[in-house]
Each structure stands twice: as structure tokens, then as C-alpha cells.
């Protein structure tokens, strides 16, 4: 009751004070002075201010005297895909060198198509093992055909072709010999052709992964690399820059190292017993890490800053990553044989080296991402940079996944399962192939002056990326379950049955990836041959130039 009275009193009081304030205001309003009215009107005008739209030019006609406004495009239709920037014209590359590079990239494209067609077929065989009964097409023979043709055919030829562009450019001199480039091209192509036929006919080196070509076949590849490395070193020796740009460190190192590992692994008079296994671990992993990875990183150090039009974030980080990669990567080969009969200390060294790989991987990734910093807006306008970025992201995740797989406990779960297959596709495809595509889409238009349609480049990108995800994620999940199943000791065949849906997903993802390669080949073809109608003059410069030509022609006729 008391509360009610207090509340009532408070409300009454409030009403009274409001009345008082209102009366005071009414009185003030009636007695406003002239100054006060002027001040208020001025404030009112300020609050209501709007631009007239004529502030810069005044009442005069608009005139862009310095030609600041250019490339005005008016969207008169709805766009299904966003328009990206076109390739910028660059100083012409020597036509002979252009031709050589295009031959390298064209051969690489052929081997990509061939190798992944085989890969796609192998993926189908997991789902339909009786799809054919032809000895030359049986799984065990085709599997190395797939891996070797994408390794030595696609990625290696593409890297070398791109290096023929990068090495002379960062040395600021012409390439020493173009003829040597063709020798390499022919030798490597011959190596992959003969190697493929041998493997399908049942002639192979005895089973180590990526070492299936017999040594005379691999020797062709090795001689090809020797010819080109001497060509590159001579070019670098006569460079006109004082420093050796870091790209050339990576590229030359990769070529030297692949020769060392091939020589050791293929020398035909040793490796009895477990010697073979120790060398296999070393060879196989240096092959992917020192040849493909080091080489592609070298190319990235050239193309990324150049595409972003700014210097690399830190040159020193690039150097740190270089030495750290050599120091740690060389050690990790035997992590493919954890718990096997090879010496226990060697397995431990490999695990420690795999953990050490975090240093070059983090250094490299940080360097690339910080180079992107401040230029992220370029990503949305570019059809090449998305390939670079995906390559960099997989460089980070795929490499760290490799470290994770090397530990003893993870070996229990994942070793011998398809997890390894997923990992090798995340890296060789996610890192290497995406980077190479980005670089190819960057330089071919510069060499030929022709661009592929942006819509098919976009379709290539998305099909490859989504396909890779469909391929790897179910495979990683399924093989984790399979490893756990093996640990629990159920009959082996149940783990085969478990994998069936994941193998189907792999085939679906693989098909998307394969379609994306068809698009890539189509794009490459268009970048070589696309005919565009001569442009009808539109800009003032063009119209005046055309008029000048017309007048000149007319005056000649007279």
C-alpha cells in the first residue's frame, strides 16, 4: 500500500516538472532575438547540406585532360562470372625461346592428360576390378605408368619449360643455348615414352616407387637434366645482376640434387638386401622434396612478387627456408619404413628430420602470405593468383600433414593405407600442379599474346579444387578407419569392404580432376591458337591512329 502511494506521488511530481519546462520553452520561443534566429537558421542549413555534383567542374563541361579515367566499362548485361583483369602486355620474349618454352609446356600438358587418364582408369578399377582383363592394362602395371608420367612427363617438363623463362630473366641476359633446350626436351619425352611402354610390357626396375623405370630409360632423363643445368649455369655465370636471385638458387639446387639422387639410386652394381630399401626411402622422398618442391618454390619466388607487383616480403626468409630445407629434408627418406627391419636409429633420424621440416615450411608459407599482404585485392581481379594461393595453402597443410604422418604412433594408424595416396595427391597435385597451372596461365599469354577464356580457366580451377577435395577427404577418413580396424585385429577382407564407399568417392573426385585437365588442355590450345578478329578502333587514340593511316593511304594513292 505504501509503495503504491510513493509511486503515485513520484508520477505526479514528474508531470509537474514537465509542465514547468514546457511553459519555460513557450516563453523562450515567443521571445527569440534576431541573432538567435540567424544562428539557428545557419545551423539548419549546415545540417541539411548536400553536394550539388558540380563541385569539381563547376558549371563547365567535364574534361579529363590528363586521361586519368580509362578502361570505363559499362555493365549492360548480367554477368554469370565476374570479369577478371586481362593479362598485361610485357616486353616481347625472343621468338625462338618462346617456341622452346611452348614445346616444353605443350609436352607437359600432353603427359598430364595421358597420365591422369591412366590414373582415372586406375581409380575406376578399385570400384570395378573386372573392367578389363588385358595384361598391359592390369593394375600393377598401369599404376607406375600413372605416377611416372605425371612426375617425369607433366611436372618435370612444365618446371623446366618455366625455368627457361625465369632463369634468363632474373639473370638479365639471354639464355646461352636454345638448341640444348630442345635436346633436353627430346630426351625427357623419349624417357617417358619408352618407360611407359616398358612398364606396360612388364619390364620394370623391381618395385621401388617412382623408381620403376629401368636405369637405361632413366638415364635419358638424367642426361636431359645435365644438358639443361649446364645451359642454366652458363647463363647465370654471365648474368648482369650482382646477386643471384633466390629463384635461381632453388632451381639450380633442385637440378643438382635430382642428378645426385638418380645417380645413387640407379647405379647398377649395388644395393643388395636392405641396402635397396634404405636407398629407396632416400631416393623417393628426395625426388618429391628436392626436385619437385624445391624447383616449384624457386619458380614461386619469381612469379608471386611479379604477379603482385611488389617485392617478396623477406629475401632472408627465402634463404633461411632454402638451407633449412636441405638440412632437414635430406634426412627424412626412411620415414617410409618406420618399424621395418632398417636400423632403428635411421628411422628416428627420419622422424626428427620430418619434424624439422616445420621450419622451412613455415618460413616459406609466411613469406608468401606476407607478400600477399596489402595486395589481397589483386586476388579477386586475377585469374592466375587463385592457383598460386591454393598452391601456397596446400604447401603449408600438405607438408605439415607429412610431418604428422612420420611419427611412430601415426604410422600405426596410417601406414600402408590409402592415407599415403591422399597425402601424395594433396602435395603433388595441390601444391605442385596448382602452382604450375598458375605459372602457365601467367606466362603463355605473354609469350603468344593470346588468352584463354576466363570462364574455362575458372571452371578448370574449381573442378580441380573440388575434385581434389572429393578425392582426398573421404580417402583420409576411410583409411583412418581402416588403420584402426587393422589395429583391432578383424579379418583383413573386412577392411577391404570398409573402403569401398571411399574408393567410389575417390573415383568421383578423380573424374572431376580429370575433366578439369581436359579444360586446361583446351585453354592451353586456345592460348596458342586463339584467333581474335582485328579490333575495331574505339578509343580516341585508336580512332586518330586509324585516321592517320587512312589519310596516309589516301595520299599515297594520289
Amino acid at each position: 500500500m505504501a509503495l503504491l502511494v510513493v509511486a503515485r506521488a513520484k508520477k505526479t511530481l514528474k508531470w509537474f516538472s514537465w509542465r514547468k519546462e514546457l511553459n519555460a520553452f513557450n516563453e523562450h520561443l515567443a521571445n527569440l532575438t534576431q541573432e538567435e534566429i540567424i544562428a539557428l537558421e545557419k545551423r539548419k542549413a549546415q545540417l541539411e547540406y548536400e553536394l550539388s555534383g558540380e563541385e569539381l567542374a563547376g558549371k563547365l563541361a567535364i574534361n579529363d585532360e590528363r586521361g586519368i579515367i580509362s578502361e570505363v566499362s559499362i555493365a549492360d548485361e548480367l554477368r554469370f562470372v565476374s570479369q577478371k583483369k586481362k593479362s598485361q602486355p610485357r616486353p616481347l620474349v625472343e621468338p625462338k625461346l618462346t617456341k622452346l618454352i611452348l614445346w616444353f609446356l605443350g609436352s607437359a600438358t600432353f603427359w598430364l592428360l595421358f597420365g591422369t587418364t591412366v590414373g582415372e582408369y586406375l581409380g575406376i578399377k578399385f570400384v570395378a576390378p573386372d573392367v578389363d582383363h588385358v595384361s598391359w592394362l592390369s593394375f600393377g602395371r598401369l599404376r607406375p605408368v600413372h605416377t611416372n608420367s605425371v612426375f617425369w612427363g607433366w611436372a618435370s617438363l612444365a618446371m623446366l619449360g618455366l625455368a627457361y623463362y625465369v632463369v634468363p630473366r632474373v639473370s638479365n641476359v639471354a639464355i646461352t643455348s636454345i638448341r640444348k633446350g630442345y635436346q633436353t626436351l627430346v630426351l625427357i619425352n623419349a624417357s617417358v615414352v619408352i618407360g611407359t611402354i616398358c612398364l606396360m610390357a612388364g619390364i620394370n626396375n623391381g618395385g621401388g616407387e617412382y623408381r620403376e623405370y629401368i636405369w637405361p630409360v632413366m638415364a635419358l632423363f638424367g642426361i636431359g637434366v645435365i644438358i639443361t643445368i649446364s645451359n642454366f649455369i652458363k647463363t647465370i655465370a654471365k648474368r648482369t645482376t650482382k646477386e643471384i636471385y633466390v629463384s635461381n638458387w632453388y632451381i639450380i639446387a633442385a637440378m643438382m640434387f635430382v642428378l645426385v639422387i638418380a645417380f645413387i639410386a640407379y647405379w647398377p652394381t649395388w644395393q643388395n638386401g636392405l641396402g635397396e630399401t634404405i636407398i629407396q626411402g632416400y631416393y623417393m622422398h628426395q625426388g618429391v622434396g628436392m626436385w619437385f618442391m624445391l624447383f616449384s618454390l624457386g619458380l614461386m619466388y619469381y612469379f608471386l612478387p611479379q604477379q603482385l607487383n611488389k617485392p617478396i616480403y623477406s629475401y632472408s626468409l627465402g634463404i633461411l627456408a632454402f638451407w633449412a630445407q636441405i638440412l632437414f629434408y635430406t634426412l627424412i627418406g626412411t620415414h617410409h619404413f618406420i618399424f621395418s627391419a632398417i636400423p632403428w636409429w635411421l628411422q628416428t633420424v627420419a622422424i626428427v628430420g620430418s619434424a624439422g621440416m616445420i621450419i622451412p615450411v613455415v618460413a616459406g608459407t609466411t613469406n608468401f602470405l606476407l607478400t600477399f599482404k596489402g595486395a589481397w585485392n589483386k586476388l579477386k581481379d586475377s585469374y592466375t593468383l587463385p592457383f598460386y594461393l591454393i598452391g601456397i595453402i596446400f604447401y603449408f597443410t600438405g607438408s605439415l600433414q607429412g610431418t604428422a604422418e612420420a611419427f611412430r604412433f601415426t604410422n600405426l594408424v596410417w601406414h600402408f593405407t590409402d592415407f599415403t595416396v591422399a597425402h601424395s595427391h594433396l602435395t603433388m597435385y595441390g601444391i605442385i600442379s596448382f602452382m604450375l597451372w598458375g605459372f602457365i596461365y601467367t606466362i603463355v599469354p605473354r609469350l603468344t599474346g593470346k588468352e584463354a577464356p576466363q570462364i574455362t580457366i575458372g571452371a578448370h580451377f574449381w573442378l580441380a579444387l573440388i575434385g581434389l577435395m572429393f578425392y582426398t577427404i573421404p580417402l583420409m577418413y576411410g583409411s583412418t578407419m581402416r588403420g584402426l580396424m587393422w589395429m583391432s585385429g578383424v579379418p583383413f577382407i573386412e577392411s577391404v569392404e570398409l573402403m569401398k564407399p571411399y574408393w567410389l568417392w575417390r573415383a568421383i573426385g578423380g573424374s572431376l580432376m580429370w575433366i578439369s585437365h581436359l579444360l586446361f588442355a583446351y585453354n592451353f590450345y586456345l592460348m596458342l591458337t586463339r584467333k581474335s578478329l582485328p579490333r575495331i578502333p574505339k578509343t580516341a587514340i585508336e580512332v586518330l591512329a586509324a585516321r592517320k593511316v587512312l589519310i596516309e593511304e589516301q595520299s599515297k594513292q594520289q
Binding site: P129, G207, Q271, G273, L274, T330
Partner: protein, 339 residues
Amino acid sequence: MELFNNHKKLFWAALGLFVFLTLFVALIPATKNQEQNAPLPGYKPLSESAIRGKNSFIANGCVACHTQQVRNVDMDKIWGDRPGIAADYAGIERTDFWRNTATLMGTERTGPDLTNVGKRQPSLAWNLLHLYQPRVVVPTSIMPAYPWLFHEKTEVDSTDVEINVPQEFRKGQTGKIVASQEALDLVAYLQSLKQVELPTGQPADDFLYKKETNPSTPQNNTGGILPDLPNGELLYNNNCASCHQANGGGLKGAFPSLKGSPIVLGDDIELFVNIIMLGYDARPEYAVMNAVGMNNNLSPEEVTAIMNHERTSWGNDAKKVSVEEVKKVMDFIKLTAEK
């Protein structure tokens, strides 16, 4: 820095570091390993036929899916009696001047490990049938079929090895299907794959990461109640099902059905145990059965579990046997085997 601006110094430095590390993680360990290990005393070199078979194994890329290494971890126990050691591979030398050493250790187990397959599955008939078409004997297998290792013939010679392929897998072949020499060689190689026993007195390495046994399982020492037996179905699937099939139905013309089998259901425990332990070759219409029990070192408890699984599954309904009965027969087998 001078090092970084002089291409000779820079590239030699990088190459030097790489080769130096290579020496210590590859060249020296590999050379040492190949010098310091010799085959075990019990090691038998491959026969001529098995060497040809191994070449066929290499040519067809079987190593893509089959490993030959028993790791020293508990989960690999099913693939061998002991972890593999360097001496197991020491007898393998370069295949020839053109081809490298084939230890065939492999890196992927899409299919089973083969280190000990000669002991686990030595049956010629099973292996040939499995090569011709794996899905005849293992319905859910995804292994490739190798029909080109077989010929079709109208008449079978005394030297021919015929395989009995069920109608639905013959693909229109109406004649007799006969193994080629290559198929026989390949099987000879598979049959030769057995872990060599360590010299007496030398202990095998331990299997690491052992599964933890559950200590809360009550001890079964009270008389009258059957002791806890191992899982009979699992043992049957691991040791018997590849021929007799998971449903016990066998395969017509190759492996007899166990459904309603008088041996499985009968009271002659001694005969039943004998067949499991020592194999069987009394019925010409079926393939020879190998000494599955002896080869796989089955314990009396395990044999009992398998027998009871067979006696009470797929419509079979016979009285379970006890470990004591089985053990008595097995002790006798051991005794005669030692003589």
C-alpha cells in the same frame, strides 16, 4: 655476402651440404647394411620355378598392393611369427644388370602382406583359382584377375594342372581351363614365401604397442563351467574361410562344404582335429587341404573354438567339444610328429 653472389661458391656449398648429409643417411647405412648382414642358417634360395615366379610377380607390379614386411608392432602379428629383420632380406641380390634388387617390401597394403603367405595359404588349387579370378574364392576382393596366365584346352594332358572354375566366372569359356607355366611359377614363388626360423636360442624381437589385455576378465578356474575360448568365428574367417567360405558352403569342385558335413557334425573328434592340424587328401573330387593348423601354430583352445564355430553355424547343430578332448588328440599328433 660473397658466398651468395658467387654462383660457383653458392652452388658448390649447397651441393656439398646435400651430399654430406646423403652420405650419413643413405650411402653409409646402405653399404653397411649390405655388408654386415647374411641370410639366416635356415634360409633356402628360391627354386628355378620360384625365381621365374618372382620375375612374374615383379613384372605385374604386385608390390603396388602387397607388402612383404612384418613390422615389430602388435598389429602385424597376423602376418608373421616374428618381426622381420635385416637378415631376412640379406639373401636378395640385384635381379640382373638391368633391374634393381627386389626386396618387394612395398609401401601399401591394399591387399594382405605376403611375407608368410607360403605358410598361411600354400594350397596350389586355391592359389591358381584365386589368380584366375580372385572373386571366385573371395567374393569381395578387388584384386585384378589374371586370366591370361591360363589356357583353354579341350583335352587335358597328364602334365596339365586344370582348375575348376564355377560357371558364372568362366566368361564363355567352355573347355578345360589349364594353368600356364607362368601361373605355376607364380604360385611356386608364393608358396616359397615363408619366414625363416631364427637359429635356436636366438630370441625374436618383441612386437611393440601390444594391445592392452583387460584385467577385469574373471579367471575361469572353477570346474564344470567352460573356460573362455577365443573367438571361433574370427579364427575361422582368418584360417578357413578363404577356401570353405565365410558361409561354410565351400566351392563346388574345389573345396567341400562344411554344412551338414559328417566330419564336422560327427563324433569322431580325432579325425576332425587331425584334418584341421595335418590337412586332408582323401577325396579326389576336391583339392588337397594343407596342414592349416600346424602351419599356423593353432593352440588347442583355438582349434576347439574353430570346431565349435563350425559345429554350430550355418544350420549345423552338433554338441560343442571341450578343450580337453581336443588337447588329447593334439598332444598325440605332436608326439607322432616329433618321432
